[in-house]
Subunit: 198 residues, 2 copies
C-alpha cells in the first residue's frame, strides 16, 4: 500500500518520530471528532508545534489524507486475515465480518473510518476521499479473490455486495450506537449461500 | 410523524414563512456542506436575520434537528410507496430500492441524509442524531410490515438486513461518487429470495 505522506527526505527522516506522532494523533482525533478539527487542536493533541507540522506537511488536508492512509493500512491489516492462513475462502470472508461484529461492540466505535471521512468531506476529489476509496476498493478486491476461489456464481457482484453489507452494518452500529449482535455475519452468510459459495 | 420544531405560538405562526424558509435552506445547506456550517452562512443563505433565527430557535443544534425532521418527513414520503397502493409486499419493498437507485444517479447525491448527519455529529445523544435514528427506524418498520405481509421466514431480521443494504448502497454511491447501476436492487432481491418472501 503506497503512502500519500510526503516521501522521506534527509530532513523528514530525521524528524520521523514527530511525523509519526502527528499522524497517529491526527487519525485518532479526526476519527473521534471529525475532519473539521482545527490545526491548533491537532498540534496541541499531537504535542507538535505548528512550525514543525508545516515543515512536514503543506496543509491540514495533506495531514488528513496521510493520517487516514497510515491508520487505514493498519486497520485493513487487522481486518483481513493473512493470505497464508489455511482457511477455506468462505471462512476468510466470514472472519472479516466477525471482526466487524467485534469492533461494533466497542463504545468507541464510530463506524468505518473511510466511510466517515467520505461522508464528512462531501468531496470525492479531496485527497482523503481518494484514500478512502482506495481502501474500500482493497476490501472489495479481497472479497472478490475469495469469491473466485470459492466458486461464487458472480465474484464481482458478490464482492461488491459484501462491501455493501460491511458498510451498511458499520453505519448501523454507529447510527444506532449499539453492537451488531450477529446482523453482519447473518447477512453475509445469506449472500454467500445465495451466490453458491462454498 | 411528529416534528421536533418548536410548537407554533401566536408569534411563530405569524412568522411561519420565515420558519419554513429557514428550515428548508438549513436542510439543503447542511446536506451539501455538512453540519459544521455556521450560523452566519445559514442565515445569509436563508435570507433570515440572526435575530429572527434566535426568535424561532434557541440554538443551531435545534435548527439542525428541526431541519432534518422537516426534510426527512418529505424524503421518507417520497421513498415509501403510499400504503394504499395495490402492490404485492415484495414490490412495495423493491420500489424503495428502485427509488434509491434513481437518487444515486444524481450528481448532487451525497448519501442518505440521516446517515450523513449521524456520521458527522458522532454523538448519538444529539437531537439531530435522535431524529436520524427515528427515520431509519421508520424505514425498518416499513420493511418489517411488508416482510410480514409477504410471509418472510423472519420479518424482523429481513427488515434490518434490508435497511443495512439500503444504507450500505447509499454510502457506496456517495463514496464512489457514482450511480449504483442495479447493485441495490440486485442485493435486495437476493435477500428477499433467501427469506422466502413472495
Amino acid at each position: 500500500m503506497t503512502s500519500s505522506a510526503p516521501a522521506p527526505t534527509a530532513h523528514t527522516t530525521a524528524a520521523a518520530p514527530t511525523h509519526e506522532r502527528l499522524l497517529d494523533a491526527a487519525a485518532a482525533l479526526f476519527y473521534r471528532e471529525g475532519v473539521n478539527v482545527g490545526i491548533e487542536a491537532l498540534c496541541r493533541t499531537a504535542g507538535v508545534s505548528k512550525r514543525s507540522m508545516y515543515q512536514l506537511f503543506t496543509s491540514k488536508d495533506e495531514v488528513l489524507a496521510a493520517s487516514l492512509d497510515r491508520a487505514g493500512s493498519r486497520y485493513l491489516g487487522q481486518l483481513l486475515p493473512a493470505p497464508a492462513a489455511d482457511l477455506p475462502p468462505r471462512e476468510h470472508i466470514m472472519r472479516v465480518f466477525e471482526h466487524l461484529e467485534s469492533m461494533s461492540a466497542s463504545p468507541d466505535y464510530l463506524g468505518c473510518p473511510f466511510l466517515a471521512t467520505a461522508f464528512e468531506l462531501k468531496n470525492p476529489e479531496h485527497p482523503a476521499s481518494v484514500i478512502a476509496r482506495r481502501y474500500k476498493d482493497a476490501l472489495t478486491d479481497f472479497f472478490r479473490e475469495q469469491a473466485r476461489r470459492g466458486g461464487a456464481h458472480d465474484p464481482d457482484l458478490l464482492a461488491t455486495q459484501l462491501t455493501v453489507i460491511f458498510d451498511g452494518s458499520s453505519a448501523r452500529a454507529m447510527a444506532q450506537a449499539q453492537s451488531l449482535h450477529g446482523l453482519a455475519t447473518a447477512t453475509a452468510t445469506a449472500l454467500l449461500d445465495a451466490a453458491g459459495m462454498s
